[in-house]
């Protein structure tokens, strides 16, 4: 019971802080809009896939990207928390490390999903036509991204003591996850070596599931997408929990 209350407190803090930092929300929504307008619009004037405009084609991928970026940086941000003594206050609370992790993680997911939802609504202005089914599936997969990636961010951040490694994480974790996920291109006709890498990336299945539900364009059955995503989420939550158990307060 007290663990649950503590969980609520941790979540409440993250969401409150997030909603107060308007500039963060705005920039995180403007960024994907630039992708859609500049990249989707620019390249879209030249190409289309399966009768779908390029802008529409990458829309699920850009949604995924928004949640991916917000989630990973939310997680890494814990380095900052540790620098401020605020985190010590949390660490002396009589809460288990698992609760700390889950509370933080849910807070981050909520932030990311709020941004994802704003973008979903803005999609209407890009001519995206939603069905109830599509929205449910999209939100479900966005939730998978949010949980999985926030967990990775928290796991890495909890083991770091400064911002030094941030560039490396950007280059070796975030960018490959995004560019090798099929968010920006169809998987048919990829060279073999690239296909192997793309198929090893769990986000590929998430984008595939989202695009399948929204546009009817997919490479794998929905069940496969869901199973792979769930496995990814489960592993990442496990890793994050372990990382929190090993984290030191300073």
């Amino acid at each position: 019971m007290s663990e649950l209350t503590g969980l609520y407190a941790l979540w409440y803090r993250e969401v409150k802080v997030f909603l107060r930092e308007r500039s963060r929300i705005i920039s995180s929504v403007v960024n994907p809009l630039i992708w859609l307008v500049a990249f989707g619009g620019g390249l879209g004037s030249a190409i289309s896939f399966g009768g779908t405009g390029y802008q529409t084609f990458i829309f699920p991928g850009v949604l995924m990207m928004t949640v991916l970026f917000t989630s990973i940086f939310f997680g890494l941000y814990i380095v900052w928390d540790k620098k401020l003594d605020f985190f010590k206050e949390v660490m002396v609370a009589p809460l288990s490390r698992t609760t700390l992790f889950v509370g933080k993680m849910l807070g981050g997911c909520t932030d990311a999903l709020i941004q994802g939802s704003i973008l979903l609504v803005l999609g209407i202005f890009f001519g995206i036509q939603y069905t109830v089914y599509a929205v449910v599936i999209l939100v479900l997969f966005l939730l998978f991204v949010a949980i999985g990636i926030t967990s990775i961010g928290l796991a890495i951040g909890s083991q770091m003591s400064s911002f030094e490694g941030f560039g490396l994480i950007q280059s070796f974790v975030v960018m490959p996850l995004f560019f090798l996920s099929g968010a920006l291109y169809p998987l048919s006709g990829l060279p073999d070596w690239l296909m192997i890498v793309v198929r090893a990336n769990p986000l590929t299945y998430i984008v595939d599931g989202m695009r399948g539900a929204l546009l009817g364009i997919y490479n794998f059955p929905l069940v496969e997408d869901v199973v792979v995503s769930l496995a990814f989420v489960a592993v990442m939550v496990g890793v994050g929990t372990l990382a929190f158990k090993r984290m030191s307060a300073t």
Binding site: L10, L84, V92, P94, T250
Partner: protein, 319 residues
């Protein structure tokens, strides 16, 4: 014995910040830790709060081992940190509310308690402003309020009244005293304010270079120095004659400023003054904790300390 440390030690690489400290603190006691910057006070408190793992030794808090049962220990303690630790973007009230949730304050009394501590630190009218708009002292008061909020059995206060105005400090002292005397709360407090230690603490430990170098009640510590002190300005002091007096325990002179410590109180003052010479200024007072502190951690002690630093280095590196 609600707090008991057994050879507790913390080394950061070759630096031994806390060096085999043994402390026993009774329930309901207000125990002060004094020591110069870098003495190891915060490090010791952090180990007791389970935030840092001792490199050697351990401590029992409320019957629980800080290494083996950190969860139970955390349920027994409240801590006020030396450095700011509230959330800037949240209001004072929200910070307290979060604390109440995390530390298991029952729902029925949450608001009431928050109100109570806000009144105590006189922040009620600013409770709904964001912490980033607070002054330094207001932040400090908020953090203090937060530490008191869940009424822990043991309070670890790391320089709690740092930067507070005299009036607020007085309020806090009264409250801390009440907690200990009426609520049987055990309080371990670090401070650089000697009057605070003197006024509040049942016992005081002076810590330097990670080691406890004195431990007693403030009264006894002061007594060790002497019963009364005379400070005087004398052009040509007759130091030999003063030193020969049986009840004079210490005489120091520098540029005509003479300080004399008497081991007995009372009638001898006139005799001292008569023998001293032509004084243009005289002050008579009882020794303070400040005198104790300076004597213990002052120059003479420092010279010894340098040696022991080398020793500690040798021990830590095994050379």
């Amino acid at each position: 014995m609600i707090i008991k440390t057994e050879g507790i030690t913390k080394a950061f690489k070759s630096l031994v910040a806390v060096d085999h400290v043994d402390l026993s603190i009774d329930e309901g006691e207000i125990f002060g830790l004094l020591g110069p910057n870098g003495a190891g006070k915060t490090t010791l408190l952090s180990m007791l709060a389970t935030l840092l793992r001792p490199t050697e030794g351990t401590a029992m808090i409320n019957g629980f081992d800080v290494i083996k049962q950190p969860g139970h220990v955390r349920r027994s303690i409240g801590m006020v940190f030396q450095a700011p630790s509230s959330d800037d973007l949240l209001t004072g009230w929200e910070n307290l509310y979060l604390h109440a949730l995390m530390f298991g304050v029952p729902a029925e009394v949450r608001r009431e308690r928050i109100d109570e501590v806000l009144t105590l630190v006189d922040l009620k009218d600013r409770a709904n402003d964001r912490v980033k708009t607070y002054s330094g002292g207001m932040r400090r008061r908020l953090e203090l309020a937060r530490g008191l909020l869940h009424k822990p059995k043991i309070l670890l206060l790391d320089e709690p009244t740092l930067g507070l105005d005299p009036q607020t400090r007085e309020h806090i002292w009264e409250y801390i005293e009440r907690l200990a005397r009426e609520g049987r709360v055990t309080i371990l407090i670090t401070t650089h304010y000697m009057e605070e230690a003197d006024r509040l603490c049942d016992r005081v430990a002076v810590i330097d270079h990670g080691k406890i170098i004195a431990l007693d009640s403030p009264a006894n510590l002061k007594m060790q120095i002497g019963k009364s002190m005379i400070k005087a300005k004398v052009k040509e002091p007759n130091l030999e004659k003063i030193r020969a007096l049986p009840y004079v325990s210490k005489v120091e002179a520098k540029d005509g400023d003479v300080s004399i410590v008497l081991s007995e109180v009372g009638a001898h003052i006139q005799e001292v003054l008569c023998n001293l010479g032509d004084a243009s200024f005289v002050e008579l007072r009882e020794p303070t904790l400040n005198d104790v502190f300076l004597q213990l951690t002052g120059k003479e002690i420092r010279a010894e300390g340098a040696e022991s630093l080398e020793e500690r280095y040798t021990r830590a590196t095994g050379k």
